[in-house]
């Protein structure tokens, strides 16, 4: 379990996250959504311990994140940054093994993570020879190989085609089902509503909504936060998010 208690995060002169209190439980996939600049990345970085809150605290399993040593923290929280920079042309397997390096059996763990993202057959290829989408999946496999109880992902669907976006969300859902806390920032509201157990909506650095997609994505919130018309509608036996074609950008 990881939680934030009234955290504020200042970046330069701006308050990027304002008074956010949240609690994330194991076994659930959380979608972190919000327009550009709403504070999603900053909130994820604060949860990962990469930026210190200017006020409030992040706690993991009832311990203050700031009280953990670097190695304790890295064993609990895995983080996939938005920037997909790779400096050297390592093999796919070498990169994924970086995630599992704290384990004695790093090699089989890396191999399993690669299979999970459908790249078992390119393990010995050089990473610079892969497509953007494959590279994104390699980096996701590196995160999965950390086997951390909390997995934080900043826009993991970038560069993926529609089929792999769904596949990756399936992989994240499976990780949650294995008992991980999985928090991913997403831009596709339809996918977020379809796959995530709970959504956390950020708006101008503040929390605009938190809970199950059907309860969070009200027409009023969609209009106010995302400048979109829409809401949940009955589709077959369940419901699905319907979004209007024309944005309400003032």
């Amino acid at each position: 379990m990881i939680e934030t208690q009234n955290i504020h995060v200042r970046l330069a002169q701006t308050e990027a996250v304002r008074d956010v209190t949240l609690r994330f439980e194991p076994g659930r996939l959380y979608g972190l959504v919000g327009p550009n600049g709403s504070g999603k990345t900053t909130l994820l970085r604060a949860l990962a311990g990469l930026v210190a809150p200017s006020a409030g605290a992040v706690r993991i399993d009832d311990r203050a994140l700031s009280s953990l040593s670097l190695s304790e923290r890295s064993a609990r929280i895995g983080y996939l940054p938005q920037a997909r920079s790779i400096s050297w042309d390592l093999t796919v397997h070498e990169i994924v093994q970086l995630g599992a390096q704290r384990f004695r059996d790093a090699e089989p763990r890396a191999a399993a993570a690669l299979r999970e993202v459908g790249l078992g057959d390119v393990a010995h290829r050089r990473v610079f020879s892969l497509s953007g989408g494959q590279t994104a999946r390699v980096l996701l496999a590196r995160l999965l190989a950390t086997a951390c109880p909390v997995l934080l992902l900043d826009e993991p669907l970038t560069a993926l085609d529609p089929a792999w976006q769904r596949q990756v969300l399936g992989v994240l859902k499976a990780a949650a089902a294995r008992g991980h806390v999985v928090i991913a920032s997403l831009h596709d509201l339809g996918l977020a509503a379809a796959f995530c157990d709970d959504l956390c909506v950020m708006h101008d650095g503040s929390l605009a909504g938190f809970g199950r997609p059907e309860t969070v994505f009200t027409p009023a919130l969609l209009a106010e936060v995302f400048h979109l018309t829409g809401g949940f509608e009955v589709a077959g036996e369940g419901t699905r998010l319907h979004l209007g074609a024309h944005p309400l950008i003032p």
Binding site: R73, S74, L90, L98, R102, R126
Partner: protein
């Protein structure tokens, strides 16, 4: 055969081959005598002239190769080299000051001054890194410090009391391992050992840094410690290399590239083979310097720069092509 074995065998082969090269031709009997009686004439040539020279070539090359590999790993840039932060410039300035002060012939003085100045520059860099562990900022500081040591070097030339002194500084700046002593070899070996201890801690961090600073931090890498140890290791190696042999350009840049070209891309696993490759390169260059049929000796640093500078330009060209093509 493993890359390690090939490089180690090449270094050993060159070391032995170069023991047979020098102004005095020695017969097998002379070598036998040198082994039996180190105090004999042949013994003096083998133990006090050739072996220290060849060992210094190997060790200086190794220091430059290791420093280059760490610099490229830390700065995450294939164009980084040990002189980037201005430590080599500081060492060169120190040596020039020692020569101007008339200490050129005092044993250990030139090396001592070079180390002192390199240490001074390193302290400035370390103070900077402990506050701002940022690679880009460090490169900018390095550009500033390199320019400053260059300007001070020009001032030393400007104020040099005689053309002889100027020529002496220039000769030293061109780099050589001629007439080096066991003290120089011990200094180089000590520097390598010290750096190895630091790099043993730094290496895994450099490897994860491949995926960027956020990923490295999230996996438990202390970036401040990584920056400090990397900078100290590069400074010790680059400063000592200049103190022992003068300026030997481009080995630090080229050795890691050579090893990368042979298939090692992991910045941690690159370090030790780059050291061996650097040693092989300087041994080869020092052999070539002795073989070149010129009336005046071509200096070692001149030769490595002559070969290395076009290589650097080529690499810049190739990198630019990759960047532009995205």
């Amino acid at each position: 055969m493993k890359l390690w074995t090939i490089l180690a065998l090449s270094a050993a082969f060159l070391l032995i081959l170069l023991m047979g090269m020098g102004e005095v031709a020695l017969s097998p009997a002379d070598y036998a005598e040198a082994l039996r009686a180190p105090g004999s004439l042949a013994g003096e040539i083998v133990w006090q002239i050739r072996l220290p020279r060849n060992l210094c070539a190997l060790l200086v090359g190794a220091m430059l190769g290791v420093a280059g590999a760490v610099a490229q790993g830390y700065f995450r840039n294939p164009l980084a080299e040990p002189g980037l932060m201005g430590v080599s410039g500081g060492a060169g300035l120190g040596a020039a000051v020692a020569i101007v002060l008339g200490l050129g012939l005092t044993p250990g003085a030139v090396e001592g001054f070079a180390l002192l100045f390199a240490g001074g520059v390193s302290l400035i860099i370390l103070a900077f890194v402990s506050r701002f562990p940022d690679r880009q900022a460090l490169i900018l500081l390095g550009v500033g410090l390199s320019s400053l040591t260059g300007a001070l070097m020009a001032l030393v030339f400007n104020l040099s009391p005689s053309p002889v002194t100027t020529a002496e500084i220039l000769g030293w700046m061109m780099g050589s391992v001629e007439n080096r002593s066991w003290t120089d070899a011990a200094l180089a070996a000590g520097g390598l050992l010290l750096a190895a201890l630091m790099l043993w801690r730094v290496g895994p961090g450099l490897r994860i840094l491949t995926l960027g600073e956020d990923t490295a931090r999230s996996q438990g890498v202390d970036l401040r410690q990584l920056a400090a140890l990397s900078v100290v290791a590069i400074s010790v190696l680059a400063g000592l290399a200049v103190a022992v042999s003068g300026v030997i350009g481009f080995v630090g840049l080229a050795a890691p590239h050579l090893v990368r070209g042979l298939g090692v891309r992991d910045p941690y696993r690159l370090i030790a083979p780059s050291g061996l490759a650097g040693g092989v390169m300087v041994l080869l260059a020092d052999g070539a310097v002795r073989l070149l049929p010129t009336s005046t000796d071509i200096r070692l640093g001149v030769l490595t720069s002559l070969i290395g500078a076009p290589l650097f330009a080529f690499l810049a060209w190739k990198s630019a092509k990759e960047w532009v093509q995205g």
